[in-house]
Point group: C2
Chain length 324, copies 2
DNA sequence: GGTTGCTGTGAAACGCGTTCCATACTTTAT
DNA sequence: ATAAAGTATGGAACGCGTTTCACAGCAACC
């Protein structure tokens, strides 16, 4: 495999000139430029990007940490980040953390190692101070609220989403409202739970521990929630569920248990996933793909302008269907 | 940021010795090793992996090409590849091609450029000969049948999947069976269509162009199919649908149109996605995550043993629910 | 005692493109 | 005509870890 030295020799110019041609530097005479291009053609030259990366000290690769890819929220997010990366000529390195802080820190090291130029956090288990510490190694954008004050955030307003959900249910006359979330230790989980309990308090509604479910991610989990609710003597009349999948499982199992939706139990989901559509599920639509694109664009800005863009909050939308 | 030269100076050894410590080479005396480790600690040393990559001529990065991430088939596949990569200490670079051959070739160049050690094709629009040509640049594993004879394949037996579906429907007495697939030009699409028409022929069933739909990916697409079927004077009594999402949309819209499932229209999907469960959809389960893991493992084998592992075919399973 | 074979260590070259600096030739401006 | 500014090109250093080769020290072997 040829390198610039060979090209230079063949084109009878210096390696510097070859490099200039490679980088479209203006100060190269037409004839030399052509000679170089011809030599590259002849020798079937391909630049070794590792050498370029080493030289330049950057890689044009953006890392992405998500707990799992195989979850509609994150696959949508990655889709968006992927688009943003493509638009700004980055490549995207995806890492699954399984919510394991060790895995996350390991990946953060790639920033130190200069193997990635920047990092996008889909969802993280790391605490604010730890993130602040780690963010010194490079540019980081987070897609969820986190304790960190240094990291730029691109997020949906979870508080507003929960508010939409609760107010919608309240307007339908519900007073016994329960909550079901995913990972309670993640940024999303924390925000949602906090917003929810604050709202209940504000509206004078009761928070009951047995109407609160956490660690629910899948359809099966949703079924389990429905089964649990079916067994309660005083059951909630409405559930705010952090994921359409879980909500779908809940509705399905509720039907099996003879609980009428929405008459006896109203259900509102999150994300407006395809499944929400076929299940006629009222849901809070989050612009996840757009969030990914925005995050990539923000990171690009940090990397090129070397400034920290302000946090961005994307707006949510309530989509009313038959489940409330 | 420190480098091995500084470490060497501080530990009063040569750079070679530092490198040996870094790579756990046995021929380093205990005291020197400790001195080096101490110096690393003191200077907060992190190796520059770009330099390592340049030196070694490899990157421990595996590239993955998928048309889109935001599709359950591919997000599952990526999940599996991600797991396999983690297990074998690779990192995973994901690229969305949108079924654009240009994008694909562009990404293939990364093999040439030595930016990735190997490549996994989720689904490709490139023809067999082109793939054979491109595969000379490095190790490639494909997750779908392709015209290429050089590329190692890890795939599900689409022929067998279609057979399961058709035989199941036949056993239920169906004689008017239609087919609905995604991208007809992709490996999956080609295999499925071919297998399907061959089976119809073998069983003496009729192929009708108006019972065949292609380019259907989403729930909305499925609804459109149902609407189309509803308008036919002679409609199929059963549909084999290449994706659970599309099948779900089909069922949903069929219900709206007053077509009874499964009595008037049986529907069988593919993948056993969560949505299949809540829609009570009979489906052909494909071990997609496992396929991703297997593909990563196969690539690892190629990269380390420098041999081409034989193609692997994973088995499918028919999951019967209420839609047939 | 001389050979063979490890163990341990370092100098120097290598992989390869980029970039700083010096130099020289043209233009343009005054 | 002369200084100033721009154009064009090359040499050498740089980024940084790995690897080859040479060599010294030391133990085992015949």
């Amino acid at each position: 495999m040829s390198n610039i030295t060979e090209i230079a020799r063949r084109a009878r110019v210096s390696r510097t000139t070859v490099s200039r041609v490679l980088n479209n530097h203006p100060y190269v005479k037409q004839d030399k430029r052509e000679a170089v291009l011809k030599a590259m053609q002849d020798l079937n030259y391909v630049p070794n990007l590792n050498a370029v990366n080493l030289s330049r000290g950057k890689t044009n690769v953006i890392g992405v940490i998500v707990p799992t890819i195989n979850h509609p929220f994150f696959s949508n997010l990655i889709e968006g980040i992927g688009r943003g990366c493509y638009k700004h000529h980055y490549r995207m390195l995806v890492h699954q953390s399984n919510y394991d802080p060790g895995h996350e820190i390991e990946f953060f090291n790639m920033l130190k190692y200069k193997l990635i130029d920047g990092l996008i956090l889909g969802s993280s288990m790391l605490s604010g101070p730890v993130l602040d510490e780690l963010s010194h190694y490079g540019s980081v954008v987070s897609c969820e609220a986190s304790g960190s004050r240094l990291i730029t955030k691109v997020l949906v307003n979870h508080e507003s989403g929960i508010r939409m959900a609760v107010e919608h249910l309240r307007s339908k006359g519900h007073r016994r409202i329960g909550l079901c979330i995913g990972n309670p230790a993640s940024g999303i989980g924390i925000s949602r739970k906090k917003a929810f309990s604050a709202l209940l308090e504000a509206y004078g509604l009761e928070w009951r521990d047995d109407w609160y479910y956490e660690g629910k991610y899948s359809i099966e989990d949703g079924s389990a929630v429905a089964a649990s609710i079916a067994g309660q003597s005083l059951a909630p009349s409405a559930m705010v569920v952090g994921s359409d999948y879980v909500a779908a499982g809940l509705i399905k199992e509720a039907a099996r248990q003879g609980i009428k939706v929405p008459e006896e139990l109203a259900v509102i989901g999150f994300d407006n996933q395809p499944i929400a559509q076929v299940m006629d599920l009222t849901t809070i639509q989050q612009p996840i793909v757009q969030m990914g694109e925005t995050a990539a664009a923000a990171l690009h800005l940090m990397l090129t302008e070397a400034e920290r863009p302000s946090d961005q909050t994307l707006e949510l939308e309530l989509i009313v269907r038959q489940s409330t």
